[in-house]
Symmetry: C2
């Protein structure tokens, strides 16, 4: 068994542990945020962690009403800008905790008197040292280069934090059901493995989603690119119609992440448009209606609050990327040209 496959399967336990053991630390951070009447969440991250940031970008505004800004670290590292934050919570996300440029954003924010926190797997890291509050992923060592369990752990930590600052108290409770639900998605692995074979010679594809699942599109596309060297490109279904759809021709493969929820109707209509254009669609959904348009349907056997779907649907993408890499004869644990920690200065 490869590290990647093992770590994909560890996800239910990782999230269970994080929800159980992380709650106290998150509670302390939420108390500090309320006391300081935080009016802006500034998220600093890179790579896979940046996709968790995109999730936070949507979830926080939707659940807590706090405006969110995704930091462009080079504003500080390259241009040394003097940004005037007020009542801001700066949140770094990094598996290794060694993302230097995201850490620099936290240092600047802290020096400017703002509240700082980070979500990291390694607490002995520069980002953990730079932030006042540390939320530990508790994911255990991640040995596969393509991140899987640290990604869903980041999403779960973001959910805990949003739940703690949300007037909707049940979001946190529903997080407790997730490990069991992810187990049910993991049970689709046999089918995913079988169906991946069809894409043995796929060289490129688009990965499409809307709203809260834009993070999922970004992350699934990155997994496909990292493990199988597929040129997989993520798009918001809304942006896709503004121009990139011009690349779709007969047989062009498109992955659609389409759970029930507010984003579903536009995914359904996109599935029909792509069908008319002769695209090949891989559709992941809990809705039979949209799956009818798919060349390859993946039926998610559970329906959950849309806010939690990114934690569930990405697992299908991880498994697909893993098995596609195997079908293509690649080692998913060791993609060419990648290092686990990338330091951007």
């Amino acid at each position: 068994m490869s590290y990647m496959q093992r770590e994909i399967h560890e996800q239910p336990r990782v999230i269970e542990r994080l929800v159980r053991e992380g709650a106290a630390g998150v509670g302390k951070l939420c108390a500090a945020a309320r006391e300081r009447e935080i009016g802006l969440l500034l998220v600093a991250a890179r790579g896979t962690s940046d996709h968790a940031g995109v999730f936070a970008r949507y979830l926080f505004e939707i659940e807590t009403g706090i405006p969110v800004s995704l930091a462009a670290p080079s504003v500080f590292t390259l241009y040394e800008a003097d940004v005037r934050w007020e009542r801001t919570l700066a949140l770094g996300i990094s598996q290794s905790g060694e993302a230097e440029d995201a850490t620099e954003v936290l240092r600047r924010a802290r020096a400017a008197g703002q509240l700082t926190a980070c979500i990291v797997n390694h607490v002995e890291s520069r980002m953990a040292r730079a932030a006042e509050h540390v939320i530990e992923m508790r994911a255990g060592e991640e040995r596969s280069l393509p991140a899987t369990k640290s990604y869903t752990a980041s999403l779960a930590a973001v959910c805990l934090l949003a739940a703690g600052l949300s007037p909707r108290p049940d979001l946190g409770r529903r997080l407790e059901d997730l490990p069991l639900l992810i187990e049910r998605v993991l049970a689709l692995e046999g089918e995913i493995e079988r169906r991946a074979e069809r894409y043995r010679y796929m060289e490129k594809c688009a990965v499409l989603a809307r709203g809260l699942n834009q993070a999922t599109a970004l992350e699934v596309a990155l997994k496909l690119a990292e493990t199988s060297y597929v040129e997989a490109h993520p798009y918001s279904a809304a942006d896709f119609l503004h121009g990139p759809i011009a690349i779709v021709e007969e047989g062009f493969p498109c992955f659609l992440i389409a759970p029930s929820g507010r984003g579903y109707p536009s995914m359904l209509s996109l599935a029909q448009t792509l069908h008319e254009r002769g695209a090949e669609t891989v559709i992941v959904s809990d809705q039979e209606e949209i799956l009818r348009w798919a060349a390859t349907p993946f039926h998610v056997p559970v329906t959950v609050d849309e806010a939690l779907t990114p934690l569930l649907y990405v697992v299908i993408g991880q498994l697909f990327a893993y098995h596609l890499a195997r079908v293509k004869g690649r080692d998913p644990d060791q993609p060419r040209g990648l290092h686990k920690v990338t330091v951007t200065r």
Copy 2:
């Protein structure tokens, strides 16, 4: 002469007119922003205009110190979130002024008592009606589907606004030199046309830049995709090293936008890395040093403040996309599957 080519060449006059006639309106908006002590700029846009938003994202934090958030319109249009802004300037950008979801962000912000403004080419439009302050692009009718002059007009309007709120008074003055500088870049057209032929059978490429020119990478990639159906994908040079670089193999074409400035050193080092991997590079720069690594060098004959380079360097990309479309036998004015106004709901 196609509309696209004509409109590319209109850019110096469009910017000259905008700087001359737009200054009064921008001045009024800046006075209102100062009076209300704006502490957050919220930018709402889609498609090409969103690339102008990415430019604003960098330029405002660097030049004015005001934190910037790029709105995710679906937070409002899909999820009907109740975001608690304070002392916020919501800025919409849209050529047609008909981008419904970006307009919805302005409506929400205005209803919540925030300052609202927009940059539009059509003042008889829903976005212009929704905003208190309207900055008119004054670009004239844009008939080509791929936007060119309305994009650089948006950037110039963003510069005017940032200059008005910046403690650095000379940025606005330097904008006055731009029309002449763009003329000098337009003079490269013969060379661009000649060199585009080499890419007759290019099917895909990466477009790379850093910092302020990430907007340029996004916009050049979109132009290539729209006009020539090239799968052109934009990346921050920093993010590219985190994973996507795995797709680079012998002969893979990469466009590098590399003007002098704070972003230059990392572009130079990326050019070397790509050279070692056998990539084919098209490099646009005013620096001979980096151009030595290029299969196709485009030497920009002028050196300007990095803050203004996005207005200059994108012109090379527009001309390249235009001539590549011609070489490929495509009509750049009428890409398949595109409409001038895309309404996202």
